[in-house]
Symmetry: C2
Amino acid sequence: MQFTVSLPEWAIQEQARLPSHIPSLEERMRIVIRFSGLNIEYQTGGPFAAGVFERDSGRLIVIGVNRVIPSNVSSAHAEIVALSLAQQQILHNWDLGSDPLAAFQLVVNWRPCAMCYGATLWSGIRSLLVAGSDDACERITGFDEGPLHPEWQEELAKRGIEFQDGMLYKEAVEVFKIFRDRGGRVYNSRQARRPPP
Amino acid sequence: MQFTVSLPEWAIQEQARLPSHIPSLEERMRIVIRFSGLNIEYQTGGPFAAGVFERDSGRLIVIGVNRVIPSNVSSAHAEIVALSLAQQQILHNWDLGSDPLAAFQLVVNWRPCAMCYGATLWSGIRSLLVAGSDDACERITGFDEGPLHPEWQEELAKRGIEFQDGMLYKEAVEVFKIFRDRGGRVYNSRQARRPPP
């Protein structure tokens, strides 16, 4: 009795073509946003991607994408996919903060939802970089992001996780608009508030 | 490229011995608490278990246990394991709320952590039953449960999820004390506040 979540074939191939290290933060985010767009283009999940990198060297560990519908797993958000692959398959450690020589960073094309916020806390990553954190994602896509604690940024800092926001905001939002314009399937707001038509 | 989380062998065998339906809520909780204790006794994960049931009939779908350390996956908390197994392996649906004829219930031996709270919101379950929700778990075990939104119970209700608390509180706490007395490994509070000694 087990469950499995896998990356789509295109994501494995795309990652194989990337350089081993991506020193620029902006370039890391550009790649993650590109994966979020490819995930809807190939119809392999929702418009979200997340990358795990060594923060200082930029070594690429893995890029995950949202796999909720193809996996039949409602928690297979991009962040959980990326963190789990990094932990289980690549670094063989449930705690990405246990190596004193390497701090790991999670790069996401939006601020984590309520679930992925918690997953970030427990992962051991030391740095979280997002493209945006306002209501644009919920407003444009219709996804419910859930309630975060009012002091969620301070709570990251308390646990030693640096936070940086607003990297390539417009590029991230552009993907959400493509998702909306194609009538992308919103898989988690059946019972919550819906965006205005 | 994929990650997998599995149940320990004892949990599969124990479930095979349970009746197909467990009508009593108290009995559902008693079973879940027993699994939380067995998980530390067999050293197959942290002191947490979660069961998915058909709310009205009591049909047992699956009981999951915490698998963080054995899986090398920091998000393999009992709730995520149970919900993912129910969705992917048993009901073949990422949305447990999509069947108009069956409402599903998640039964957990404590209130979900910040991550599992979000996972509960996205799972489609319509009912959440927990043994307790105060600071006893953090205080006794040393686990960090993360920050929940101050109106987390109202936010469940907004999304159509009933909430019931306090079922077999003392029995749940007893397992946490056994975990503490055996020096159980706390895998998520390295960087957060620790309980007083």
